[in-house]
Symmetry: C2
Subunit: 385 residues, 2 copies
């Protein structure tokens, strides 16, 4: 098995791109990543996408995007694991290079969330849940996040305002990121007054779906040093699952898949949680950010909200998270999210994060969840020189 | 990179399973494959599925099926490439073992085609085409296959009855297969009188979509000999793409992706087309079977129909195809089809094909296409002892 490195990154701003479809969004990120890697050809393409079939009537995205990007002929496939599709696509690209079957692989995460609106979009989003036991009875991702958040607050005695700092941090960082969907800062106290989405989940608590695409170019670590000035090694790559339906979980307030995936990635990288300089977590809801800090070994059970309250997650803190705005402010373009996370961590490690730079970052985690943690994909990235 | 082997196979009959959803179908195949491999645990699950999101409102199948099969916690993801999803899932499982990142991997292809009927199903099927330039203007897979078939007949002077033997062969073999959707034989001459689906494609020319699931268990070839009495080596695994939209192809009558994928798989296996003892081709339409025989190096351009007319593709011929009925008679459960093909080739190489046995089969090809050849995945399988 070979070591694998990221030698190119690209992204388009997350937002409502009324003038672009799936192929155009993907192409924007692919062009930027290939240019960054100074390459014009790859051996394979992996596409992470969650809802193309449901929201745009477009499946079979591997062949479609390969052709549109001028790569027709290359191996290409789509990987889907709800909003962990991007992370899983990165992992499949990693496998292609690690196995020696491909020298250079392009991974693109792409989502077009605005082809449908209202109930049609909600129905599409609900296909990421258990169709028979959650979606058909009427649950939505936000409704289930509401149940989870209510239980967390009740079980651990956490007040709504103690979750607010996650959102304030995300928006503070998003405000500096030209690719973020929302660049407004959040005023302390605004959280509790925000319109309710699914009590107690409110508007400032849940991440917006958006259109977007992000891409990375992978090659062997041995080759990377010759090709790129600042390659980033994938020191650990792992995925795991939990029950899809929330009601089947033995322990509702423990993200088992995230715990397993992060643990395996740490082990592969030979690191401990305390070694990390930053983490891009899957903060689609604030309660998930708190639960992830517990699952990845950075907070004790029931205390995942404390790092936020204590300023630990800020850019100057012990473990900065959502450094470019996270899902909350950069936006959650579902199947693209995991690749945005990898791009953002790579930019931090390259020292090219601009206003969003975490000083001295050499080791970072990208943790991508599907739905409410049914799937988790963890990647530990490391600056090479 | 490690050699990889199939040590367990399982399938459920293809058909209209009104009493089973995606998870139940998948479980049937998974249980059979694990039992065949004499294992009760694996390190990872890969799910091939084309239209769960569109036809059953169910995406995120990796986590769902892992949990339902009692494998919760393992890495799991869905791979999608239209009806090449199963072949691509097999390839991803292959990568997991080849890279050394997993010891034992379960690959399941599953499709539930009967949750929707009529126009709703047609709309779902059309998501495998180019949504903007083919599906939205009204094309369906069958309509495009009609264009392709008409052009093939015109260009090469082929009569309708010269394509009939593909269908007769498939049905003759399907009649002996307890897992086939259609077990009726086809009378010579019936083809030309069949109801027209999309002129000149008729009912006996096009494969039926069906519900189904098939699974294989993979491990390293080194370990396989200790675990299974008759392991089958994956000697070559490759995938390639062509333009998704038919009108973008420089050469309409050449399946470029199939040619590239088969060529790469031959090269990896160190074989020539003439070495094969059988081939499971993607005969969703008879014209595709003819074009695949040309693409994989078994017939000259324009002569892919001849092996059928000359009896070469029968079980006693030089290159038997559709030995269990192919897509035409076994049925085409889209995202499961590629895994059915692998199961069938493996059974042939193990000498366990029963009434469908190809005598002395030691080397076989499974060629899985997405749509009309936008994606192709080729696997060369070889009997180990």
């Amino acid at each position: 098995m070979r070591d694998v490195a990221i030698i190119g990154v690209g992204q388009v701003p997350v937002g409502e791109h009324w003038d672009m479809g799936l192929r155009q969004l993907a192409l924007g990120a692919i062009r930027a990543a290939l240019q960054d890697a100074r390459l014009d050809h790859v051996d394979a393409l992996v596409v992470g996408n969650a809802l193309g079939g449901n929201l745009s009537g477009q499946n079979h995205l591997g062949a479609l995007i390969a052709d549109f990007a001028g790569l027709s002929g290359v191996e290409a496939a789509r990987v889907e694991a709800a909003d962990a599709s991007g992370g899983m696509a990165l992992r499949q690209g990693y496998l292609l290079v690690a196995s020696g079957l491909a020298e250079t692989v392009l991974v693109v995460g792409v989502e077009k969330a605005t082809d449908r609106t209202g109930p049609e979009r909600d129905t599409g989003l609900a296909t990421t849940l258990d169709a028979d036991y959650e979606a058909t009875p009427g649950a939505t991702p936000a409704a289930l996040a509401g149940l989870l958040m209510r239980r967390y607050m009740h079980e651990h005695g956490v007040a709504l305002e103690q979750l607010e700092p996650f959102s304030i941090n995300a928006h503070a960082n998003g405000a500096l990121n030209a690719n973020a969907m929302y660049r407004n800062k959040l005023r302390p106290g605004a959280f509790a007054k925000a319109p309710v989405v699914a009590d107690p989940v409110n508007l400032f608590d849940s991440a917006p779906e958006g259109d977007g695409a992000a891409a990375v170019v992978l090659t062997s670590a041995a080759r990377a040093l010759d090709l790129a000035p600042r390659p980033v090694r994938i020191s650990g790559s792992a995925a795991a699952t939990d029950t899809l339906a929330l009601h089947n979980r033995a322990d509702l307030l423990f993200l088992r898949a995230a715990n397993l995936a992060a643990g395996r990635a740490y082990e592969a990288a030979g690191i401990a949680p305390g070694d990390l300089h930053l983490a891009e977590l899957h903060d689609s809801f604030t309660v998930l950010a708190a639960l992830q800090l517990e699952a990845i070994g950075f907070a004790r059970r029931g205390e995942g909200w404390k790092p936020a309250v204590e300023g630990v997650i800020g850019r100057g803190g012990k473990l900065p998270i959502s450094t470019f705005g996270g899902l909350k402010a950069r936006g959650n373009p579902l199947g693209a999210t995991g690749v945005y996370q990898a791009v953002e961590v790579a930019l931090q490690l390259r020292g090219e994060a601009g206003d969003n730079q975490v000083s001295g970052a050499r080791l970072g985690l990208a943790l991508n969840l599907g739905g409410l943690g049914g799937t988790a994909v963890a990647h530990v990235l490391e600056r090479m020189e």
